[in-house]
Structures are given as structure tokens and as C-alpha cells.
């Protein structure tokens, strides 16, 4: 992804005379929460390790963009991808577990 320094935010940080602290980004928090859920699910690590790894990488990209003076729109976008990657890893684990008969094939309420 291309870096587009958010000049306004940088100017505000400089004039405020304090170190730049990334604003809380709602999408990024959603991504973090989704990733934590995927990490906490033992089935995900066991059955969807590749997808979980892809989710971790997407998470890292989103956080890196947030920590740099990156365009908030870029951060939002990367955070959205990261969140979806995490959800995909959980659904993949659910799929494989169902196919292998590890969990009962009953309807489960989504999120």
C-alpha cells in the first residue's frame, strides 16, 4: 500500500507539541477483536492454521499503517481486510470441523 502522509494530522500533532499517538480507529479495533477471537479458538489453530497466519499478516499490515502517518482511509481499508481474514479463519475451521464430524451439524447463531 502507498503511504500518503496525513499532513493535517501531522501538523496538529506538531503544533500540539506532543508525540504523535494514533487515534483510536474503530475499524482497527474491530479487526483486533476479530483476530483475538480467532486466536482464542483452539480449532482455528488446529484446522485453519494457514488462514490464521494470513489473518495475522493482515493484522500486522493494518497496525503498521496505523502506527505510521498513514492515510486514515488506508488504515480503515487494511483493518477491514484484516477483520475479514480473521472471520474467514474461524469459518474455515468451522467448515473443516463440520466436514470431519468434529462438531454437530446444527445451525449456530452467527456472531
Amino acid at each position: 500500500m502507498i503511504r500518503r502522509p496525513s499532513l493535517l494530522v501531522a501538523a496538529m500533532a506538531i503544533t500540539a507539541g506532543c508525540a504523535f499517538v494514533p487515534r483510536t480507529n474503530l475499524r482497527l479495533e474491530e479487526a483486533r477483536a476479530a483476530y483475538r477471537q480467532a486466536q482464542a479458538d483452539p480449532l482455528v489453530a488446529e484446522l485453519a492454521g494457514n488462514e490464521l497466519h494470513a489473518a495475522a499478516e493482515a493484522q500486522d499490515r493494518a497496525i503498521a499503517a496505523s502506527n505510521s502517518l498513514d492515510d486514515p482511509a488506508v488504515v480503515d481499508h487494511l483493518a477491514y481486510l484484516a477483520r475479514q481474514r480473521a472471520v474467514i479463519s474461524r469459518e474455515t475451521a468451522r467448515l473443516i470441523a463440520t466436514q470431519r464430524g468434529l462438531i454437530a451439524p446444527t445451525a449456530v447463531a452467527r456472531r
Partner: protein, 97 residues
Amino acid sequence: MNPHPAFLPAAAWLAGCAVQALPAEQLAASEAAIARAERAGAALYATTELNNAKEKLRLTRRWIEARDYAPARWLAEQAQIDAELAEVKARVGNSRR
């Protein structure tokens, strides 16, 4: 958002041609992902995700028509990932029958 015109050549060079070019490969990948999701039954089992993917693909094409390829690429990437999620959920739905 738009860089000063004087900086455009440098920005484009720094950006690498990929960002400035029409994201044809990404568009094809997004379309393929949506097709896969539909074949997997996403219309029934992952309706929201599939509709999100299709809507984003529609917006992707509009941005391409407007020749603004950065947001086009972002939307296409999101369309693809929405479609991938829809496909997995569809397979889950099918395996639960």
C-alpha cells in the same frame, strides 16, 4: 487527497505503476471470487456477504469508469475478501444440511 501536480511524476514513480494502473487483475480476481461464492450457494447461506461483495464490485467499476484507480483497487480487494468469506460460509451452510 490529490498531490500537487508538480509532484505527480515523482509520486507516481514512488507509488509504482501498480497503483496508477487500472487494477485489471484484481478486478478479475474479485469477479472470480464472487462466481465461486455463488456456485457454493452463497446466495442462500451468506446472502449479506455476497451482496456486499457484489455492491463493492459495482462500485469498483464506477471508480474505474471515473479513472480513479486507487479506490477502485481498494473496493475490488474488499469485494474479493467479502466473496471469499461468503464462499466459506456457504460451504458451512451446505455441510450442515
